[in-house]
Symmetry: D2
Subunit: 159 residues, 4 copies
């Protein structure tokens, strides 16, 4: 059920004053807001902007069930950082996202999310339940072609 | 170097509209802001309100180096939840905090933080570095008396 | 169409580390989150907790159309402040809320909100439109005595 | 003491899921975080990135003393908006910023900030006080050359 995917998203983030705390470094919950936006950016890159994706597939979101992060080095307001994100595994109704935030080229934060494909329960409209991730969604992330311009080796193998 | 502590903090949190996202459930980075406030509440309960603690010990904060959370059930605006927090381990210059958020008595979110006791570097004022946690800080969490009503075994040993 | 109301809400807020910015004072957008929670608290005090209110009246929220705030004195993490809130005017489909935040008894922030009673448009589900505020909602705020919406005697006096 | 300035900043903002509330529209305090970043962007465009500006001039920030905003139309996650910002007036130790947020070319939010040039008080390190805005800072916003391509008349008058 596991499958290595190919789409990687790179998002440049300018650290704002309001993202920082009295120690003058990024207030750590803000990193999770960054990563949440990066996951959305990853789906957008795969052709699935979030609002349209929710409509198309009748889901309410892709909420987290588990998250882990390591804060290796602090970042400060006026810094510009880059986050590289990719889906590392698709399960039946959940998937794993890996984010790496780089500041001046050095890995500063690493985050691992497990998210579910979630819809309103058909039996109880006050409940949210996971649903199988549609095959066509997964395929958008593993498509060959223009998504892997920088892997000449793997392209060669395919011939 | 490990040491089980006794002070537990219970914080009641009213989930606000602004803490929730378009799926009408708590936006997960907000949980980390809750937990950050719970850690501050835990130190306050041990007699160390944050602003005073930073001044007294010359630190800039107690930033995270690692965090893990499991989101077991969603919570919604107008819900009132309770978070129980305790320090589960003291290391030389870091410590582990465990938070459990209960909604209607059921465990809804669990979080494990590792934080460092951090000061401005003496060599480079633009850097933050960890320092040993003062013994008197640790002792505030392990005091005998009304802090350990639920450990009859350990009380017995003290006689 | 104007009407002075009686219900006043007082909310005690502990200023958290994460509400403050690198200048070590409350990051001003956080005040608006406080005030938003205070408006919700005001409705709750009038017997209308937000989630239930939205369901009962079929609205999506009470979004702002206009807001003004004056920041008179800064507040810092570990401060405890009190916000007094009241509705100062009811219009056809909107209303005015006045918040005053006190720190150590001194007025530190003042805010004036104009909010609308808002529902999903019947013609276009992607639009939100204002609707007349139900009379019974307004009456909950204008009961005589400080909390007696359910006292027929006081209603009789009004005739 | 008033002076019309010329530097205008345009910032493109992608509305994120986490910026929206259960009504599925931007949670209004988030607009103020956007505008705060836009003011920082405006200074950066004038050659004053915030962190460096604070160091150079020995200030702790440019906090608000007054703000007004009108919310004309809601914006939603996955929308891309543009904010145009400019300083409309310089006073002795404060200045006025005007932000206009456009969604699909239509004015959706308008905001007027009054901010102060603020430093730690020399008499009391726990206090923040306003200081005169340095002339060279103001001049960066009214510099001749590429900053005022559309006001040749005002340049001529200055001679």
């Amino acid at each position: 059920m596991s499958k290595k995917t190919n789409v990687t998203n790179r998002k440049t983030i300018h650290i704002e004053w309001g993202d920082c705390d009295p120690a003058q470094i990024v207030y750590f919950p803000r990193y999770f807001a960054y990563f949440d936006a990066c996951t959305a950016g990853l789906f957008k890159k795969a052709g699935l902007p979030k609002r349209q994706m929710l409509k198309t597939y009748g889901i309410v979101g892709i909420p987290l069930v588990d998250v882990r992060a390591s804060f290796i080095a602090p970042s400060r307001f006026s810094d510009t950082v880059v986050v590289e994100s990719e889906i590392t595994e698709w399960r039946r109704s959940s998937f794993c996202v890996h984010h790496r935030l780089f500041n001046k080229g050095v890995l500063a934060v690493e985050c691992f999310e497990i998210r579910v494909w979630a819809a309103i329960s058909e039996r109880d409209p006050d409940r949210i339940e996971s649903k199988p991730v549609p095959r066509e969604v997964i395929e958008r992330f593993s498509a060959t072609g223009d998504h892997r311009p920088d892997h000449p080796m793997s392209r060669r193998k395919k011939r």
